[in-house]
């Protein structure tokens, strides 16, 4: 089976070198541009942004993206069918999980959600079209850059959409580098955009090169206004070292998210559902997302004890492992997962209150413990730690040193507790608090890692009231 990835605008050339990425029986071919070709792409995309995208209104752009999303949500459309067929092969995730995940994810890119997304950041989306009057006097406009370069990473399907769509909304030219773990979705999205609106043909490119190619990256970054990078701190640091000060760098590093279950959610009636939702967050994309939980803190004092809750979760994970089996793991992943679990089992000796639950084939593991000071990542792939605690204040100190890594907290608590905890968590670096079961589906308009998706990409241009007033004197109709 073969599939072509990437999207190259019209640069007057059609001869490319091709790189083949192998996923089992599936061969994905992606163009590998020469430096000259890359420079032509940069030039073309910048021009496309200036001549086409910047001439469209924001409402026109929203409509285009909405139509693309519609096609991707339609299970009869050819792209959707391709996505459902090929993404499980490329990423290894279960078909059904991908199907559900895609739908829930794509819903965020429909017209009304996009509008919310814009209003959230800009309050008045027309700022992207025209100078808008300001309350204090004067006028402002939000101007998008000519070129945004996106360095996408990872294999969570369709993840590049957030930044790609944000780039389009600010009318920027976009060049996206896909990861070799999931090179397809962004490519299809680009092709679909052009099918829906052929005028966009030269406004973006989706490419690939081997990460760390110093010459290529230095040259591209020098010509970009903004570089958005996803990845671990090591790769982000190496990207940063190639970005001139005149280019803005927006890094999105790897994160740790966790769950927080207070005893109000642990009465005998509600606990099962709480555990079910928590397990769902673990199962979705096998915890590979930045918003996926590594551990769950569970409060004592409820009808259901934290230890029982850990067992509930084990049961739920066992059920899910039949319905949505885990991705097939590489030898490296298998080895590190096993060695992690064995090490935990070894420590049972010195820690009598600890429990390690798991099936013999290692499809999932739940470690229960009462040591509140443990704040450590899970090896992922359905491995979770449940830690009992009494007061939220007790667990906070162990997370504090990791401020830069904290992101989502999935919470089960009463309204009053929710806000109290939010206050504490926000102070130590958490940027998103959501319901259990929703950890992997951020709402449209969320502040990714606490930042502004749109605002961070634009430059505000102010016409101060003095200029406006002064100009009156020079009007031809001035008496």
């Amino acid at each position: 089976m073969k599939e072509v990835a990437g999207y190259i605008p019209d640069i007057g050339e059609e001869e490319f070198q091709w790189k083949v990425l192998q996923f089992g029986d599936l061969e994905v071919e992606i163009p590998l541009l020469t430096e000259e070709q890359m420079n032509l792409v940069i030039e073309t995309v910048k021009k496309g942004s200036e001549e086409i995208l910047k001439s469209l209104t924001i409402s026109e752009i929203v409509t285009i993206i909405d139509r693309v999303t519609d096609r991707l949500l339609d299970r009869n459309s050819s792209y959707r069918q391709k996505a459902e067929k090929l993404l499980p092969i490329v990423t290894g995730y279960d078909e059904e999980m991908i199907r559900l995940g895609l739908t829930s994810y794509l819903k965020s890119f429909r017209k009304h959600e996009l509008q919310r997304f814009l209003v959230e950041d800009l309050s008045n989306p027309l700022l992207l079209d025209d100078f808008q009057p300001r309350v204090k006097g004067g006028f402002s406009k939000a101007v998008g850059p000519d070129l945004i370069t996106h360095i996408w990473a990872g294999n969570v399907p369709a993840l590049p959409l957030w930044s790609f769509v944000s780039g389009l909304l600010v009318k920027a030219g976009n060049i996206g580098k896909v990861s070799s773990g999931e090179p397809l979705f962004a490519s299809w999205f680009a092709h679909l955009l052009v099918e829906v609106e052929p005028r966009l043909a030269n406004c973006f490119a989706v490419v690939w090169w081997k990460g760390g190619d110093v010459e290529r990256e230095t040259s591209l970054f020098r010509q970009s206004d903004i570089v958005i990078g996803y990845g671990g701190n090591h790769s982000l640091e190496s990207l940063q070292s190639r970005i001139p000060v005149t280019t803005r760098f927006l890094p999105f590093g790897h994160k740790i998210s966790f769950g927080l279950v207070l005893h109000s959610a642990l009465d005998s009636q509600k606990a099962w559902r709480t555990a079910h939702q928590a397990a769902l967050d673990v199962v979705r994309y096998d915890q590979q997302g930045c918003y996926s939980p590594h551990l769950f803190y569970v409060q004592t004092g409820g009808n259901v004890s934290p230890k029982e809750f850990a067992r509930y979760m084990a049961r739920e994970l066992e059920n899910f492992s039949k319905r949505y089996p885990r991705r097939k793991l590489s030898m490296e992943e298998s080895a590190s997962l096993t060695s992690w679990r064995q090490k935990e089992e070894m420590s049972l000796f010195s820690n009598q209150n600890k429990e390690v639950l798991g099936d013999s084939a290692n499809h999932w593991t739940v470690v229960y413990e009462e040591e509140k000071g443990v704040f450590a990542p899970s090896p992922l792939n359905r491995v979770i730690r449940v830690i009992a605690f009494e007061k939220v204040e007790d667990i906070v100190p162990s997370m504090k040193p990791y401020r830069s890594f904290l992101q989502t907290v999935g919470m089960a608590a009463s309204p009053k507790e929710l806000f109290q905890c939010a206050e504490i968590l926000g102070r130590i670096g958490v940027t998103r608090i959501t319901a259990l079961g929703r950890m992997t589906s951020p709402e449209p308009g969320w502040h990714h890692d606490g930042r502004f998706n749109i605002t961070d990409l634009v430059q505000m241009v102010d016409i101060e009231s003095s200029a406006e007033e002064a100009s009156e004197r020079f009007a031809p109709y001035e008496d």
Binding site: H254, S292, H294, M331, E333, A335, T338, Q342, S347, F349
Partner: protein
Amino acid sequence: MNQQQDIIKNLTTFIENKSSTDGDFNDLALQIFAYQYQHNLPYQAFCRQKGKTPRLVKTWKDIPFVPINAFKEVPLSCTDPEDAEAVFMTSGTTKGIRGKHYHPTLEIYDLSMTANFKERFMKETENIRIGVLFPTEKEMPNSSLAHYLALAVQEFGTEDSHYLLNESGLDMDRLLGELTQAEETGEPYALLGASYSFVHLFEELEKVGKTFSLPKGSRILDTGGYKNQSKELELNEFYQLLSTFLGVDRRTCINMYGVTELSTQFYDDGNDVVPSVKSGPHWIKTRVINPLSGEEVEKGERGVLVHCDLANFNSVTTILTEDLGVQNDDGFLLLGRVKGAEARGCSIAVEEFIDFTRGSAK
């Protein structure tokens, strides 16, 4: 204590008897497992968690394997660690913690080492002049490799054998002297040491523009890889340089594969072809497994190595390594370390987190 002495006695007989059968291996392995289950309490707890007791374990393949990094977590010993004759520690650390391997007596370790070393490295030769590219036992009292090399010199070295390191690294004057002497007298010479020390040696010899042609019967033993102590060379390049600089046949360049957590080493039969096939003596057996299921993979497929070393009578015989390998008819091919799994998505990987923790601890 009698039990321990029994086991030592049985082991000694087993090691010395080259015609021991698989059945004998199995019997002794199960005897040692029962002993360890009884006296090594952290291991007992671990086995119980796995639902495996001496009553249920019928063959050596069923003996629960312990991950190699467990030696960092708990003391794995059937006797009081305080009374150990030797404690070998790993060089690699996690958060500053080193794995510890307790030996109540070195009797078995030494027997295992010498019998195997004789067979695989010395062969027909009784004694040879040895140069060691590694610190002495006195300098590194907790290094199993330092003990191993000291034993090699003591048991198999001629009186003129020397350690060839000083405070600043290689003692080049002495080394050049030794190599020249060997070349001039035609007396076979053995150079033993850490792989990275040989890389330093190449660099030094390159600097002074010297190559040697060691006499027939000379041999090299390297071990341990580079451990960030030197440039990383490809296996092929490494053995090519050894043969170029020292004039020894690649077939007499032996690589020893051993870890602190075991009491027996593996050797190859030279490195004319790399990666070379490694194998051990009859008192250690290796399985190549799929780590998730613990089942053996098909012959010829990649998996993780599990060693069952009967000489590990005091700690745990059966250990899950972090080494990837493939089984073949004569032994196994080492395919390197299992690297920490990389993050596939945007969630943090354990390795990256540890790096950060280390960085912030500095």
